[in-house]
Symmetry: C2
Subunit: 224 residues, 2 copies
DNA sequence: ACAAAAGTGTTAATTTTACACCCATGC
DNA sequence: GCATGGGTGTAAAATTAACACTTTTGT
């Protein structure tokens, strides 16, 4: 990220698309947001870019993504998954290959988020013109997230340990930007065996208390 | 691949899992094979490893994978797709991050393959103990290929420009290691609109001549 | 004529979708 | 009681799966 290559070396950076669900300012409904960092040096000085940094020799790829998450939002405990690696020769004036992760931030974590230097959050589907090929990366991340949520239990990553089916459905609706039939959603999710009831209900609602669930024991983590 | 790191730099390699379909020596049915390269220096001297090499400053990631394909098999024109990047600190004595591609080789290409130095082909489900974390990588590639063939038209990549539905089905059967109902397979594939008839038939068979198909115009390439 | 694979038809089983309706709580 | 979502039931529609049967070639 800070590299100015003199010789013919390729340098390696890890960037992270940090997704959190927050209300849309216009509709008020939940949508995907992500934090960007304003560049304070060339190239693309003044433009917004994905948070990231060079891979340090002593850290794993996911650890690097986690450090970026911490530096950008102050948060530590979020779901991380490798997305893709971008390495076109002309994607940057110097030669940088970026390995991109996404982080899915839970609301309880998100509430504690503290923006780092030059950090600002944007609605994910409405980001400004970004530095490098980061527009492509954000688009790709959104496509992949929307595809993956339909066949994988990643939606849990946007929720606290215990949650109601309505909350889980709201995550799906926010990511997919369409409403889902509550009755059918319930049956499909339960048939998938990815969640299990805690045995308790959420009280204090102005209606029938919904049952609480947690992620099932063996999530059987399958990368896309 | 040849790197001996003095300082704390991370080096970057691109490896390629080259898949081709060839007859299983015991059953005679088509299965997945891949070429491995015997290491001629430490670490893991004498062990088999995936073909690959350091990323050169002037080449894109896919171009590097293509060079490896050429160096290993003499072949040029095959479907390439990025699989995953492996970067655990302890995966190698020096610090190497490997971006792994797969190449799917068509039979007409495979027939022209010429093995490079220290190259030998193995049945993909029965490879020997490999160097580094390459066992994990091969397992991961097999899992991903078997998952992806069920929802994506990658099977075409194992066939020449024109092919019969039986040939396409044989690719699926070889990859998934189970037989599929010809009638239902036909309907599912045709409903998917991923192939279109050429209008001609294959002659010279000892039975009714099957229609020939080609990949449909817009494959709408969606990376998993 | 016969074998062998191409290709079509048909039906049962399963999954998806749409929507009606009862349940449990706060006010 | 009434409003509000939670949760269940049910039937039509669409998809998948199993398998019988007809077609077209080479021998």
């Amino acid at each position: 990220m800070t590299t100015t290559q003199v010789d013919q070396r390729v340098s390696l950076a890890v960037s992270t698309v940090i997704f959190a669900l927050r209300p849309d300012p216009s509709t008020g409904r939940q949508t995907l947001w992500l934090p960007l960092v304003r560049r304070i040096r060339e190239p693309y000085e003044g433009k917004w870019a994905l948070p990231g940094g060079p891979l340090e020799a002593h850290e794993d790829l996911a650890a690097s993504a986690r450090h970026t998450l911490e530096r950008t939002t102050g948060l530590g405990d979020s779901y991380l998954e490798q997305l893709y690696s971008f390495g076109a020769v002309d994607r940057s004036p110097d030669r940088v290959v970026s390995i991109v992760y996404w982080a899915l931030v839970r609301p309880d974590e998100d509430a504690r988020a503290i923006d780092g230097e030059n950090v600002e959050w944007f609605v994910a589907d409405d980001v400004p013109d970004l530095a490098f090929d980061h527009d492509d990366i954000v688009r790709y991340a959104l496509d992949r997230l929307r595809a993956k949520i339909t066949y994988s239990p990643i939606a849990h990553a946007f929720l606290a340990d215990e949650f109601t089916l309505a909350e889980l459905r709201e995550v799906h609706e926010a990511v997919l930007r369409k409403s889902l039939d509550p009755a059918n959603f319930r049956r499909q999710v339960l048939a998938g065996r990815t969640i299990e009831p805690t045995g308790t209900c959420l009280t204090g609602t102005s209606h029938r208390p919904p049952a609480l669930y947690r992620a099932a024991a063996r999530p059987e983590e399958i990368a896309r």
